[in-house]
């Protein structure tokens, strides 16, 4: 029974709850390995927020590239973030975007460790 707060204290909100549940079935050694890889690969929600804010000053869509959504990234880049409306949607929604990416990372790491 590994506790998320001991290994990845920086997580919070939805992501924290998800990782806590994932970790509850691991032993300490596996949890430590998981935490090391996961911390190296996850993206901070603040990174998404800051790169999304760049959209107001010229280059929109950087945050979509950061989380690997190339199609949306190109669309935002070429339309000024859907005339800034898409940028605003993503600034409101930045935590969900980061969580969506990090959940994928967590699932990848889980399959790597098995």
């Amino acid at each position: 029974m590994a506790r998320m707060i001991d290994f990845l204290p920086e997580l919070e909100g939805d992501e924290g709850a998800y990782i806590a549940k994932l970790m509850s079935s691991m032993n300490d050694e596996k949890a430590q390995r998981f935490a090391r890889v996961y911390r190296a690969r996850r993206k901070e929600p603040q990174i998404i927020l800051f790169t999304a804010l760049v959209g107001f000053f010229g280059i929109a869509g950087v945050h979509r590239f950061v989380i690997g959504q190339v199609g949306m990234g190109i669309l935002y880049l070429l339309t000024g973030g859907l005339c800034a409306i898409g940028t605003i949607v993503d600034i409101i929604n930045y935590k969900s975007l980061a969580f969506e990416y990090n959940r994928g990372v967590a699932q990848d790491v889980m399959t790597l460790l098995d």
Binding site: D14, G71, G80, C83, V89
Partner: protein
């Protein structure tokens, strides 16, 4: 109640925003609609915005008028494909995550 609203907002905001936008544009008549500009860059006084005409372009595409759509903004059909794909992906994600019984980030977390 408040928690439930928060949960719905957190989980469905992006789906709702994009699909409502697309539906409204599909229902809009591009010939008549010439109201105030929705582009925020124009509202604050920046005259150039690469997204101008995108709404009209999407509306023309839904009406099947590709040549007018291309004239409004060349990216209209491309935008529809990407946005529909994104909404579809999000809905697919919601369904499969529920099926696999991952935590359903309920209101009580």
């Amino acid at each position: 109640m408040k928690e439930q609203l928060k949960y719905l907002f957190r989980n469905y905001f992006e789906i709702t925003a994009f699909s409502v936008g697309l539906i409204l544009l599909a229902l809009m008549d591009p010939e008549i609609a010439n109201g105030p500009d929705l582009c925020l860059f124009e509202q604050v006084g920046i005259t150039f915005c690469p997204g101008d005409g995108l709404g009209h372009s999407i509306a023309y595409t839904f009406n099947g008028d590709i040549s007018n759509a291309m004239q409004s903004n060349i990216l209209g059909p491309f935008a529809i494909i990407i946005l529909v794909g994104r909404v579809g992906y999000l809905i697919h994600n919601k369904i499969t995550n529920k099926k696999r019984n991952y935590i359903d980030y309920g209101p009580n977390d």
